[in-house]
């Protein structure tokens, strides 16, 4: 389950363990993501995905192990990390345009007001254009669709020109076509801007076309490598500690419990669940 050590990795996680409230949430997790790499962080709810992202962000201290981002050890407010949190609840009455939210990505942590300077405006315009959000730049964020909101959140995370982009379940509430668009956008950003992307998801299928690396979490332990190395019956059975089977159906991957041939994560991988 060890990964090859990549000397040019933007993110390197080495033997990271985390205990929260006496429970071991992450157990010796190791992986790395290089510049331009697109890595999926896959696991069911409670597998430790959000915890791992928060450790990388410096919000949770690991009980052991090391995290390096762009060569340095992690610290709070690392400008090299762009972050798209889970479940952003944007009410329709939130008086904030898409471009205002992106502007907060640039300087929202600073005290006081931001003054409307041309340089700031052009930076916002440029990044809105890069994510294809120019059309709704002046609309209220709360009135945008889920896919449009994700684009704005991605722009917000990219405007500080990070080397690493972390996204926590960005596809969770999107329909299939919006999810595919967001994934395509992220793949393009990773390739064009040489940004390392780590994206958590409970369903790996929307990511299969673009993901070059996968970290699969189960009960706090991780298997990582290329998709072909990890998403296999033997690797995942070892990870889960019991027999599971990886089935390929019409270009989709299902991970089912081997014993009763019952879907191990029926909720997560059932292709009928995500309707259009």
């Amino acid at each position: 389950m060890r990964v090859e050590t990549d000397p040019d990795a933007v993110l390197r996680v080495t033997d990271v363990s985390v205990s929260l409230g006496g429970r071991r949430v992450l157990d010796r997790v190791s992986f790395s993501v290089g510049a331009g790499g697109f890595c999926g962080l896959i696991g069911s709810n409670g597998a430790g995905k959000t915890t791992l992202l928060r450790v990388i962000l410096g919000l949770i201290a690991p009980s052991s192990g090391r995290i390096e981002v762009a060569g340095g050890t992690r610290s709070r407010r690392n400008p090299q990390i762009g972050y798209v949190p889970q479940k952003i609840a944007l009410d329709t009455d939130m008086p904030l345009r898409a471009r205002d939210l992106v502007g907060l990505g640039l300087d929202g942590h600073r005290f006081g007001f931001s003054w409307p300077v041309g340089k700031r405006r052009s930076a916002v315009d440029e990044i809105l254009d890069a994510v294809g959000a120019t059309e709704f730049a002046d609309a209220r964020v709360g009135n945008l669709s889920g896919g449009e909101q994700q684009r704005v959140m991605i722009a917000q995370a990219l405007i500080s020109r990070p080397e690493l982009l972390l996204l926590d379940e960005p596809l969770a509430n999107l329909d299939i076509s919006s999810a595919a668009e967001v994934v395509e956008l992220l793949a393009r950003i990773a390739a064009e801007q040489r940004i390392a992307i780590l994206l958590s998801a409970h369903d790996m299928n929307p990511l299969l076309p673009v993901m070059d690396h996968v970290v699969y979490l189960a009960d706090g332990r991780a298997a990582s490598g290329t998709t072909d190395q990890v998403v296999r019956t033997d690797t995942l059975s070892r990870l889960y500690g019991h027999q599971v089977e990886v089935i390929h159906v019409q270009g989709r991957v299902l991970v089912v419990s081997g014993a009763e041939h019952q879907a191990h994560h029926a909720d997560d991988t059932d292709p009928t669940r995500r309707g259009p």
């Binding site: 919000l59 407010r77 990390i81 944007l90 009455d93 939130m94 008086p95 002046d138």
Partner: protein
């Protein structure tokens, strides 16, 4: 400038020359501006309950002030600031924890308010304390109060100005603000302090019970109309001032109409806010319809509709 006498029937005689009216208009305007600014954040942070609780908690402070014989504003400020600090200490990170913390502090304070108001009632020198504390006394404020209110107002607005961006960011997403290195608890605590001051000021204006109306009403109206935070804040402040002044005028005029006993100012101000809230709903509705009509959803002929 407006003449002192010739504006009848809109302005009954003496409105512009009355000292209590001057104080009422000044104090009402300051309280409305501060409440509008702070209220926008109260609504987008989903802390209306905390705002309402603080105003109820202020009741204990206002009634205590009566007992010791000082101006109610000091009682409101002292109790609200302490209550805000306790709410922050108990922990208000999650909406649920926030509600619990608010509820616990609120319950304890209302108990105290019951005690103090009782003491006020049985002590003969403080007749009218209950009505004064709960429903305001804008026409009987001492002239020196304007300075105190102005200082508190500037403090509250300055606090919001300093916290502006991190406060907005943490209102959008606590997790995002945290990840960006925003000291989220400090920012939330600072905002609660500004809220405590704003609520104290509007408690003096329209009473502890009704001060939520001045905090939430104009902000809710602004959020229906404005797309940008700055604009929403400006609209909320303007609506608040308008409601306060028009309400004060109606109350003043009503004393003449009713031959002596006019309607309470608090009622008039809240009534104006209520009417404006419905009007803003109509405006927002019409705008949404027009947007839908002009967007590509419904292909309509590009000919002018209004020919009148």
């Amino acid at each position: 400038m407006l003449g002192a006498t010739s504006w009848s029937p809109l302005f009954e005689p003496g409105f512009f020359s009355s000292e209590p009216v001057h104080v009422a208009l000044a104090v009402g305007a300051i309280a409305a501006v501060v409440s509008g600014i702070v209220g926008v954040f109260t609504v987008i942070r989903g802390q209306s309950f905390a705002g309402h609780a603080l105003s109820d908690i202020g009741t204990a402070g206002g009634s205590a002030a009566f007992l010791v014989g000082t101006s109610t504003i000091y009682g409101f400020v002292a109790f609200n600031v302490v209550a805000a600090a306790v709410m922050e200490l108990i922990g208000i990170r999650k909406p649920r924890g926030r509600d619990l913390a608010t509820g616990i502090v609120l319950g304890a304070s209302l108990g105290l308010a019951a005690l103090f108001l009782y003491e006020d009632t049985i002590s003969s020198s403080t007749t009218g304390a209950t009505v004064n504390v709960l429903f305001g006394s804008i026409f009987t404020l001492p002239p020196g109060i304007t300075t105190v209110i102005a200082v508190l107002g500037v403090a509250s607005v300055a606090l919001i100005a300093v916290l502006y961006r991190p406060l907005l960011l943490s209102s959008v997403s606590y997790e995002l603000a945290e990840a960006r290195g925003v000291p989220v608890r400090l920012v939330g605590g600072g905002y609660l302090l500004a809220l405590a001051l704003a609520v104290s000021m509007s408690a003096v204006t329209i009473g502890a019970i009704l001060s939520t109306a001045l905090l939430i009403g104009p902000a809710a109206i602004a959020l229906r109309l404005a797309t940008r935070t700055g604009v929403a804040i400006a609209v909320a402040a303007a609506v608040g001032v308008f409601a306060c002044w028009v309400g004060t005028l109606i109350a003043y005029d009503s004393t003449v109409w009713a031959g002596g006993n006019g309607w309470p100012v608090s009622f008039c101000i809240v009534a104006v806010i209520f009417v404006l809230y419905f009007a803003s709903g109509v405006v927002a509705r019409l705008r949404a319809d027009r947007r839908r009509a002009t967007s590509g959803d419904q292909p309509t002929a590009a000919t002018p509709v209004e020919v009148a």
